[in-house]
Amino acid sequence: MSLKPGRPGHANLAIGLLAGAAVVFFALPLVGLLVRVAPAEVWRQLTAPAVQTALRLSLTVSLTAAGLSLLLGLPLAYALARLPFPGRGLARALVTLPMVLPPVVGGTALLAAFGRRGLLGGPLEHGLGVILPYTTGAAVLAATFVAAPFLVITVEGALRGLDPRLEQAAATLGASRLRIVATVVLPAIRPSLVAGLALCWARALGEFGATITFAGNLQGRTQTMPLAVYEALHTSPDGAVALSLILLAVSLALLAALRGHFFKGG
């Protein structure tokens, strides 16, 4: 198959129209949010105690999940990229699965593992006296489950793109593996690490399905901002829009902070 030359004007027009339609499709809902409520209402919501509780909880849960993802995800990404071990392909597939799995399925699976009648739930409850479901810890686990893969996959991709001879050179100079990772590898993949961490945090902040399934919905304990938006939708729709605008502002701030990573072409 080869592209035929000639009449590029028509093709460009068609592409332009479809691309324009796509931009309108993405922009319209945001404009809808913006024109729906008065700024005063957003301010009133932002200062309402219940909203501040949800916002604080969302930040705590999503930042803890991002930290946990970093703690477990960074070594995992390194192992997937650099350490040949049997079943590596399977491990990679398992880690990627939550990215494509419906979150409510993730929540159900977490219940099957950590619920009171789950695989580990019984031993946890009777051995350690820990009951996970419907706790803030459950909300953190749910967010980590869905968000960590974004960090792992991004960092692993960067590691695979990194010339292994850099690390070999450092090794021949006598550096330990940990020292190589800290002084050679991490600085080299820093942009990807930051981008992966940001994607991971954003996904954790937006997490809804696994959270409401595994952690339930209780103000101050498991009702994060997305759950508060959903509940407000059925009680005060304008409040839901105001809450959505607050989350939208947080997301925009994140994008702005990362514009060097995502808007290189712009």
């Binding site: 198959m1 619920g115 009648r117 479901p133 419907y134 919905n217 209780l218 509940e231 939708l233």
Partner: protein, 254 residues
């Protein structure tokens, strides 16, 4: 590169066949019934009879918490009939001026449910036991509002609410979480202990809160595009056939 093209052709052909199949069938009129989650089995029982009486009519149910349905009606969702589990949500829907006058067509009873293998809860007072994991519906969900009112009558509201681990968006969320053993207790309608779940649940009466009686209201939407069918469905539910179907599922007469 012939394979992708033939695959694409097959998809187009399949699409054309599917569309053709649709346009070939006789035009069906659809009655949209938005109904409280707890009415699911009783209303589904009524569907076949209504469709038999009205050939070419398809009843489509939207079962959810009444507060969700009221919000959808206020937001302009297409519906012909609304059946709410309490007056508050019917009044909220009516504030949209889309509702015709409502009437009470059934009542229900609140009960405590616990996992079948847990005998520790004997009455409402046990709901305030420290460390108990209690699940209620949210306070705007009718069954959640009734439950809070009952706990208030019993004088255990504050202590019981301190044990709540999750506010569910409809009554079936409460029943399910108790049935799977994730929660120690919940307050639901007696009719929610369905045959399917009966062996997983133990029911304890809410003695002392008998005067909190859940009442269901039904009304047609004033802007229904098929007002006769909407009125006919309301009449069916509020009439003898409806009473029989609701009674069979454990609902009380209005």
């Amino acid at each position: 590169m012939t394979r992708p093209r033939s695959a694409a052709r097959r998809v187009v052909l399949l699409g054309a066949l599917t569309l053709g199949g649709c346009s070939g069938a006789p035009a069906e009129r659809v009655v949209h019934v938005a109904a409280a989650m707890s009415l699911k089995e009783a209303f589904t029982d009524l569907e076949a009879g209504f469709e038999a009486q009205h050939p070419g009519v398809d009843v489509v149910f939207n079962f959810a918490g009444s507060q969700t349905l009221a919000a959808q009606i206020v937001a302009g969702a297409p519906a012909d009939v609304f059946a709410s589990a309490d007056r508050a949500q019917m009044e909220r829907a009516a504030a949209s001026s889309r509702m015709q006058p409502a009437r009470v067509f059934a009542r229900n009873k609140l009960v405590i449910v616990t996992p079948a293998n847990d005998p520790s809860i004997q009455g409402p007072a046990d709901l305030s036991r420290a460390g108990l994991r209690l699940i209620l519906a949210g306070e705007t969900v009718p069954v959640g509002a009734y439950a809070r009112e009952a706990l208030n009558r019993l004088g255990v509201r504050e202590a019981a609410l301190a044990n709540v681990v999750s506010n569910e968006e409809n009554v079936r969320g409460v029943v399910g979480k108790v049935a799977t053993g994730e929660a120690d207790a919940g307050i639901v309608y007696a009719t929610d202990v369905t045959a399917e779940l009966a062996d997983k649940l133990r029911t304890v009466t809410l003695a002392g809160a008998d005067d909190v009686v859940p009442a269901y209201e039904i009304a047609a939407l004033a802007d229904s595009r098929q007002p006769e069918l909407a009125a006919a469905f309301v009449d069916l539910v509020a009439g003898p056939a409806g009473a029989a179907a609701l009674g069979k599922r454990g609902f009380l007469p209005p």
